[in-house]
Symmetry: C2
Subunit: 298 residues, 2 copies
């Protein structure tokens, strides 16, 4: 699909991901569990992580079937984290993607189980037994996803977030939290896309893709913080202003709106420079995705 | 270690598993998360699942390093399920392995995150990047664990359990619930041990091991139900009589104590017959483990 312009490519990829998620998130799991899992995942979200996987795979001319599975797997991890994050013992949020959150709709116990089952499903998607993805690639994808999702990545960042409510954080501390909380899975998405290269990717290109992923990951969070104060709940599909209301440190509360916007622009420039340095000829989708992350309005 | 008698072998394996868990469950995860994870996993539990993995690996003369990782990974999944299961929105239990439950000790939010991070860590353990386990074996182990833990296994069984409180279940319905809730991970443990065979295992032997795993898995639950009414909390290390108090269907409430004991004996005989049918010469540890599961008093 290298011939399509970015919106055309993006629309086509989003449709593929949606279709795959509809197929792979089971409707028939017992006792309403499947219904809760599908509610948490389908028909919503920007799918930024799947697009990063697929764009990175295109940049390295990787295995497209592996990338589609990886794209869905990272989205399942993201979706489970939102389900658990919204629960009363965490952020206690009632609105997500314009709909009642999973625990509001299905009860807390079912929300807890649905999140747990979505995490397991992510690793199940990465390990098909049908020979469609080389087994060494399956192992590499599981390794990258587990590290990005676990205590050294997303879950660790959430623990820092929990411990930070009502505390003044310095900019390096805030950056350290986001590097794990949202950055690890976004950077992990880029790595997983690159891991779909049948013959691997050179070390210099991998390092450049890591720089790209780190810059886009942080930019994503800075823009989230900006949108939390500049957009309304209807546009966001979630409760606007909730971080400020919860007395959570954000880039806007720390740096102000103008400096946050300048930081987002600088991170975008960093992402572009990293792609230039990667030497990958097909990195155009990754470049356009970085633009989208910074220029989005929801 | 084939020359040791069963207690000697079992003690040695338990010490290895404990040492490996101490090494692999991170103490340094951010903001107290590592502490909560270690509290949930270390120095407690019967380690029935790790022993099943290691005994099955011995039966197929498998890769011992892979089996140790698999043994720890299944235990992490089991431990995370207990942390989440004990939370107020689920069973709301305060005592586990003779200690306050994780959410009592660390708060609900940290317990939720610790469980999530333990699940991710399980898959991280299965996918070392150091070449110590063949990558095809890593992929197979992840596949088996993800299926055993997810909506078609343990999490699905928990959803049935949730939906069954206060409802009369038939014996086949109760068996169906336990086949997923506890059976999937126990049977999965046996499968994972068998997946450590470098050249694979013949289909007939695999089917026999599956029969063994199914029988032992169900026996485990039947004995749990018996102990719930015959043992006291101090011996169990958890709240005795809680299933009856919660109006949960159990084998004892359905069949009575004597018939439940007869069922456990019959399942043990099934497990023995399956091992005889497997044709595996080194299945002695699996046989002794089945005995232990049925004859335990906690």
């Amino acid at each position: 699909m290298t011939s399509l312009d970015f919106p055309g490519w993006s629309d086509a990829q989003l449709a593929r991901v949606e279709q795959a998620l509809h197929r792979w998130v089971p409707a028939d799991a017992p006792a309403g569990l499947g219904e809760a899992m599908r509610y948490a995942v389908l028909d919503g979200g920007k799918r930024a992580r799947p697009l990063l996987v697929l764009a990175a795979c295109e940049a390295v001319r990787g295995n497209d079937q592996a990338a589609l599975r990886a794209a869905c797997a990272v989205e399942l991890i993201h979706a489970y984290s939102l389900v658990h994050d919204d629960m009363p013992c965490m952020d206690n949020d009632v609105l997500r993607r314009g709909k009642p959150t999973v625990h509001v709709r299905f009860g807390e116990a079912q929300a807890l189980l649905a999140g747990d089952a979505l995490q397991a499903l992510a690793f199940e998607l990465l390990t098909p037994g049908d020979g469609s993805v080389p087994e060494a690639m399956q192992a590499a994808l599981c390794r990258l996803l587990a590290r990005a999702a676990g205590s050294g990545g997303m879950a660790g960042g959430q623990a820092i977030d929990l411990a930070s409510v009502g505390k003044p954080l310095s900019e390096p501390q805030l950056r350290g939290m986001h590097r794990l909380k949202t950055g690890a899975l976004l950077q992990g998405s880029v790595r997983m896309g690159a891991a779909c290269a049948p013959q691997g990717v050179g070390e210099a290109a991998l390092a450049a893709l890591d720089d790209y992923g780190a810059a886009v990951g942080l930019a994503f969070q800075v823009v989230d913080d900006i949108l939390d104060v500049t957009a309304d709940s209807a546009a966001l599909g979630k409760t606007a202003g909730k971080d400020a209301a919860a007395d959570k440190p954000t880039y806007v509360s720390l740096l102000g709106l103008d400096a946050s916007r300048a930081l987002a622009r600088e991170l975008l420039a960093q992402a572009h420079r990293a792609l230039d340095a990667s030497g990958l000829p097909d990195a155009g989708r990754l470049r356009a995705l970085a633009d989208l992350v910074v220029q989005r309005n929801r």
